[in-house]
């Protein structure tokens, strides 16, 4: 909801200034009409306070509801009604307060019509200003939303690109190759081939083309081989699937960040050797993949561990299936389990 211009100090002063101006003009007019000072001041103050209240009510109403362009007549009707009400109220109050001045009461009764139309003029003018103000606010807000959305989209795209490149993995792998090149050139060559094949696989994948689990596991295998060269004996993996699951489909590169997260979590949270377990099964039209890694429950709360890698997977699953229940995690002693369910199309 847009803020009313009365929320901004500068305009508050302007509003108060306008009020004082109207009061003093009215005092002048009434003195000219030979009203007493007392009557003139009372009348001007009460009348304008009522009109000001009407204006505030008007601008506040418009804050919640601005009529469509072809329904501006509604605003006119509101103005008329509000003016009638404010005029009636101020007349009531004034004839009560100043009832001992019969000349003034005559003057008051005689000017009711003009008072009403002045009120209409002021209130409808405030209404027009308010409508313009709120329209302006809406436009600025819409523009801001649009630019925010664009920025978010750009950030997401950049993040995705960076994820695809996986600089940490890439540079460390290149460093391993550099080390192997000295003493074990054959191994270095083999690792270059694995890394190339892995990167090619990553680049070739298109978002909308689903792949079978066995293809995805093959791609994952390249990644795991490279990680095993990097971390040596510390990392081992166990993969269990059945034929039914192998033939099922999943979006490309969905499994890899999950396994990557499990490996990182396992390797950086413990100092010993770890085994990452990956299993897949078919269950009521879903492909269910389970990834388990050890962690140290004493030093890291799993809340932290679910971290970065998985939130992007969660987001992707939501964009694909509009469901938030497809990725779940469990903690059981020192094992962290990630379960992803993929609905089959």
């Amino acid at each position: 909801m847009p803020a009313s211009f009365l929320h901004i100090n500068k305009y508050r002063w302007l509003f108060a200034g306008g009020f004082l101006l109207l009061v003093s003009i009215q005092v002048q007019v009434l003195l000219n009409a030979e009203a007493s000072w007392e009557a003139a001041v009372w009348d001007s103050t009460i009348t304008n306070v009522c009109i000001a209240a009407g204006c505030m009510l008007m601008t506040n109403n418009l804050r919640y509801y601005v009529p469509n362009r072809n329904k501006y007549i509604i605003i006119l009707i509101w103005s008329l009604v509000l003016s009638a009400v404010t005029s009636a109220i101020s007349q009531r109050i004034l004839s009560g307060v100043l009832k001992k001045q019969p000349e003034y009461i005559n003057l008051l009764e005689g000017t009711l019509t003009i008072r009403f139309w002045v009120a209409v003029l002021i209130i409808s003018w405030v209404a027009v200003v308010s409508v313009l103000w709120y329209r302006q606010q809406e436009t600025t807000e819409a523009e801001k939303r649009k630019s925010d959305a664009e920025r978010l989209a750009k950030d997401a795209e950049l993040y995705k690109l960076r994820q695809q490149l996986q600089p940490h993995f890439l540079f460390n792998s290149l460093n391993s190759i550099s080390a192997l090149a000295g003493n074990q050139p054959e191994q270095a060559r083999k690792m270059i081939h694995q890394l190339s094949e892995f990167l090619r696989g990553t680049l070739r994948k298109e978002e909308h083309q689903w792949v079978t689990l066995s293809d995805e596991l093959q791609h994952l295998g390249l990644y795991l081989e490279i990680e095993k060269v990097r971390f040596g004996h510390r990392l081992s993996t166990e993969i269990k699937t059945d034929d039914a699951a192998n033939a099922m489909n999943l979006p490309p590169l969905l499994l890899q960040p999950i396994v990557e997260n499990a490996i990182k979590f396992g390797l950086y949270d413990t100092t010993g050797s770890i085994t990452v377990y990956i299993s897949a099964a078919a269950a009521d039209g879903h492909l269910v993949i389970t990834v388990k890694n050890p962690f140290d429950p004493e030093t890291s709360s799993p809340r932290q561990g679910t971290g970065f890698g998985l939130s992007s997977v969660q987001r992707r699953l939501y964009l694909l299936f509009a469901r938030k229940d497809l990725l779940t995690t469990e903690v059981e002693q020192n094992l962290f389990t990630t379960i992803v369910k993929i609905p089959q199309q």
Binding site: N175, A179, G182, F231, G232, D296, Q304
Partner: protein, 247 residues
């Protein structure tokens, strides 16, 4: 003879360092370590002149490891990709090698270190580096301390309050108090301001542990924690607490 220690969790990353070091017969590798825990022990034991240190390692990072050593040796960092770490290096002029690095680049780092060592009294940038490094996102979630030779990682959620004590900061947790050689200002900067409030010149309190705040003497207050501990709150500290707690 110059003693050095290699600390990196990837065996191949250590092997390339060893290979390059063969060109420098005056430098002897006295130990290789897989992680920061081994690193701390090895540095204490061998008192090396120079260490090669990776940043991302199991359990504790290279920076956290350095924090645990009282007078750390000269360090050449080795890392693959870590935007934040690189920022920390650049600001503090310690040499670092980005993996993979060539023998030429390695030689430059060694020469830079030799020059620094031989000219004037060694300019020690380590404290400044650790100050910057302490602001890395990962380090705002935990505090690494050493107690009776053992290393403990304290998740910040378990910290009840911090208390200044001479040049140290006492970290109060369920399992007792731990001492860390850092300043209150540094902790105040690093910890999440919505959770940890500097309620007094000498105290930072974890608001999640506060049960109530009582008036205490003139213009001062006491925060009563769930554990029954009482933490002094100054007048300005009270204003800060009220703001965070939404009172």
């Amino acid at each position: 003879m110059i003693k050095t220690i290699l600390i990196d969790d990837e065996p191949l990353a250590r092997s390339i360092l060893k290979e390059y070091l063969q060109h420098y017969p005056q430098i002897q590798v006295v130990q290789e370590c897989n992680d920061g825990f081994e690193g701390v022990k090895a540095v204490m034991q061998h008192q090396p002149d120079l260490i090669f240190l990776d940043i991302q390692m199991p359990k504790i990072s290279g920076f956290e490891m350095l924090e645990l050593i009282e007078q750390p040796p000269a360090v050449i960092f080795t890392t693959a990709f870590d935007e934040y770490a690189i920022k920390a290096f650049e600001n503090n002029a310690v040499d670092y090698l980005l993996k993979p690095f060539s023998l030429e680049r390695f030689d430059k780092a060694i020469r830079k270190w030799t020059e620094q060592k031989n000219t004037v009294a060694e300019k020690d940038n380590t404290p400044a580096l650790l100050q910057t490094a302490a602001q890395l996102p990962q380090q705002s979630r935990r505090i690494v301390v050493k107690i009776a030779g053992r290393i403990r990682i304290i998740p910040v959620d378990e910290v009840q309050y911090l208390e200044a004590s001479d040049d140290y900061v006492k970290i109060h947790t369920r399992d007792g108090a731990f001492i860390k050689n850092r300043t209150m200002g540094n902790f105040e900067q690093v910890l999440d301001a919505q959770q940890f409030v500097r309620c007094h010149r000498s105290y930072i309190v974890n608001v999640q542990f506060i049960t109530r705040i009582d008036p205490y003497e003139k213009e001062n207050f006491l925060a009563i924690l769930k554990t029954g501990d009482k933490v002094p709150v100054s007048k300005t500290g009270y204003a800060k607490l009220k703001k965070v707690l939404g009172l």
